[in-house]
Symmetry: C2
Amino acid sequence: MKKHNFSAGPSILPQEVFEKASQAVLDFDNTGLSLIEISHRSKEFVAVYDKAVALVKELLYVPETHEVLFLQGGASMQFLMTAINLMKNEGGKAAYVDTGAWSSKAIKEAKLFGEVEVVATSKDTNYNYIPKGYTIPSDADYVHITTNNTIFGTQFKEFPTTEVPLVADMSSDIFSKPVDVSKFGIIYAGAQKNLGPAGATLVIIQKDLLGNTGRTIPSMLDYQIHIKGESMFNTPPVFAIYVSMLNLEYMKAQGGLKAVEKHNEEKAAMLYNEIDNNPSFVNSVAKEDRSLMNVVFLLKDESKDAEFLAACAEAGISNVKGHRSVGGFRASIYNAMPKESVQALIDVMKKF
Amino acid sequence: MKKHNFSAGPSILPQEVFEKASQAVLDFDNTGLSLIEISHRSKEFVAVYDKAVALVKELLYVPETHEVLFLQGGASMQFLMTAINLMKNEGGKAAYVDTGAWSSKAIKEAKLFGEVEVVATSKDTNYNYIPKGYTIPSDADYVHITTNNTIFGTQFKEFPTTEVPLVADMSSDIFSKPVDVSKFGIIYAGAQKNLGPAGATLVIIQKDLLGNTGRTIPSMLDYQIHIKGESMFNTPPVFAIYVSMLNLEYMKAQGGLKAVEKHNEEKAAMLYNEIDNNPSFVNSVAKEDRSLMNVVFLLKDESKDAEFLAACAEAGISNVKGHRSVGGFRASIYNAMPKESVQALIDVMKKF
């Protein structure tokens, strides 16, 4: 029996994508070869790569000013790459909004390359809201945000308006809704939520921001080198890019990101509605900042946590335990999560 | 029909590995979930990771002094990581043996972190031999070699004896034969030849070499951080590690690396024998340095190159075109290449 997989990432993808990926590992596109034994420079794989990039551009309406890359190393590598590529070598300065564990990690890496000003933080209440009304210094090389916070269940619904380049870690909500890419200097995302398997990292970069730091950048950390090599300066993660391409095709077939957004809003409403109306549960995130991707909730009587997890397991529901830094529960309801699975969880909550 | 895949990398893996990997993408180990939708911190994947590491240690007899990691970014990222982790911040110096394109790339990155002394090079004859009899300065922080050179078809059969830590890029011949790991400070290898699919990088490190540079190292580039996190400081490439584990299991079942080596020696002998005895072909690599992994050869009459490639294609032989920097042909005969495929190529050569 297929489980209801609420994992925070790597996470659920459409069944159709699993089936096509499985087939390609045996015989890729009738080439007589497995997907994972072909050269990344073969015309067959270059076509896959080109299609993946084209679908990213199409689904997100990426403007001509921006370039799309598939790299490795996840958001953790981007914490470093964004800073080294954008922060001036002399007198470099960047602004960061601190909305949780991932922002803090990004801040730590950026500090190696210049001055970091944390312009806002919600640490005072264990990150249960998204800060608003802060000032971004106009002399910052960029401002960095984490658009969705998997651990704390918060999400930016509006992005800061600023004249400095806006850099966003969208690892956990990219492709969950339309986004105006033209407003961002860099968007990056580890693939393993709404895009594909672990092992690929999507980066969308405004080209004219690059090459202005006066810094010597090692090749593998240099966006300009990866742009020149069309993500093949080094051997790319072939399988992860292929599966991402399949999933992008799937999203397009669903009607694009507006349709995806509507589905996500409906699923999240179902679950938040249950939490708000069920006297046993509570969600302590500011209502306007609630994540549509990661729904966190607590049992009012914590002593029943284990009992609730057992009831979930009984119903084929996996991975709803909350992160250790907040406790309670977390239901990650990414794009591929069907309403039936959300309903299965609600049914357990109702009975409890 | 299954093709004879002579690709230089990503490259052939055992059919049994493709079959198991394909099944795991549909349903991993009867968990009711796809391998690529499970958390990297799930007990099921942690068991896969632990098994992969244990098999690396077993097959290569890795001593207790060394640690095994699975990272991302391929050899290209290791060019940077080895230098930043080993070269002293003040007065750092490293020795490099230049045996071709990949050595040159490693040298380029190392130069960003200190003085690089190229102690030997075979560039004078377009890298058709492995330099011998050079002196490695005793004050170098390390000496770096590329043990097998895919483009030029050369391979170290003996490693330099030195008191400074020996760092080796073994991307294209690791697991092709036994190696005395205790003699190396760092061994690294992109997975996509004899280990697994593109997207994982194996690193074997002598632990006591780390932490001595006086340098601030960004987290993602710091071996000590990855050792502490057991390769899960960031989300690891789940699929690529899983497939590598399957392939390591396969090698063990074949009888380990001595059996693998014997098979590789026999295959290479078949092919070099044909090249040496067939008046139409020539191999210009110094005989004692011929690679057992990548067999390069030229037609004496270059005008027939296209005709030969067509004859290969006719026989289901793919990817034997040589790299553009040397021309001619290259047959990559990694571990998983069966003798039948080598014989198929020899048959075409005989007829030609």
